[in-house]
């Protein structure tokens, strides 16, 4: 069954169609949340919260405006930024640091060379990191990112600019 049919069925209350939509996008959603939060544990919690939110707002979803995956990314990004507003900055930094340490250890254990760019991304404020990843990894335009994050397009432009400058500086110091 194609995505459009599944969405139509899910909107009519078909739970099998809805769970299939979540199942087929779960890896993408979890992967996206890991990339922006740099924490697999937080990403899993937020992926579940995203699915719950999507169920609550299902009737508001318009397939003509965005794809199902973009809609999930929109909900996930806003939930992540909401989460950051709730936790204190120093606690968030500590959690990110611990998570990066664990990931570095995993890389070592699987004989992979650790990408130092991940440390540079980890040192960035998430408000700068998220738009950079959305633009340069997922290929969203500045206007799309602005709509997803509910921030003016000019702000996104300057956040990407500042974020890249900081990554550059961080990498040159290494």
């Amino acid at each position: 069954m194609d995505e459009k049919t599944l969405i139509a069925l899910a909107k009519q209350g078909n739970t099998d169609a809805l769970s299939e939509l979540f199942r087929s996008h779960y890896t993408m959603l979890r992967g996206y949340l890991i990339k922006i939060s740099l924490s697999p544990e937080l990403a899993e919690d937020l992926a579940q919260d995203t699915m719950i939110k999507a169920m609550q707002k299902l009737q508001l979803y318009d397939p003509a405006k965005s794809s199902w995956s973009t809609w999930l990314i929109t909900i996930a990004s806003r939930l992540y930024l909401d989460h950051l507003r709730k936790v204190k900055r120093d606690r968030q930094l500590l959690e990110e640091e611990q998570s990066l340490r664990q990931l570095r250890w995993r890389a070592q254990a699987s004989n992979e060379e650790w990408h130092e760019l991940l440390d540079a991304l980890g040192s960035l404020d998430p408000n700068l990191r998220v738009p950079i990843i959305m633009k340069h990894y997922y290929g969203f335009s500045q206007e799309e990112i602005a709509a997803i994050l509910e921030v003016p397009s000019g702000t996104i432009k300057s956040r990407i600019h500042n974020g890249i400058e900081r990554i550059r500086k961080e990498m040159s110091e290494r």
Partner: protein, 101 residues
């Protein structure tokens, strides 16, 4: 602005590494089915609870407004603690039972 001297490919490689390091098979179809069913049931429970709350508060608000219009604010202020007491009585009794039990 683009990445140029940092190299966009380098960023992609770094983030792809995260995918490899955290790779996990998605939960089974059964898990998703029960997750959806549970969450929908939870949503229904919440809706019913909110509806009951609304249906119990709305008549009191209407009665208070009508009372104010009919008997004046003084009578309503006297009646208010009695009404609130009667409403909270089941809650207090239930709590006592729990402590006793």
């Amino acid at each position: 602005m683009n990445l140029h001297d940092i190299d966009e490919q380098q960023l992609r490689d770094a983030l792809d590494q995260l995918d490899r390091l955290t790779h996990q098979e998605p939960p089974s179809s059964k898990w998703f089915a029960s997750f959806v069913t549970e969450q929908l049931a939870e949503q229904k429970r919440k809706f019913r609870r909110d509806l009951i709350l609304f249906l119990s508060v709305a008549p009191i608000a209407i009665l208070l407004t009508m009372g104010t219009l009919a008997y004046g604010i003084g009578a309503v202020l006297i009646a208010q603690p009695i009404v609130l007491g009667l409403i909270s009585l089941p809650v207090v009794l239930r709590r006592r039972k729990k402590v006793d039990g």
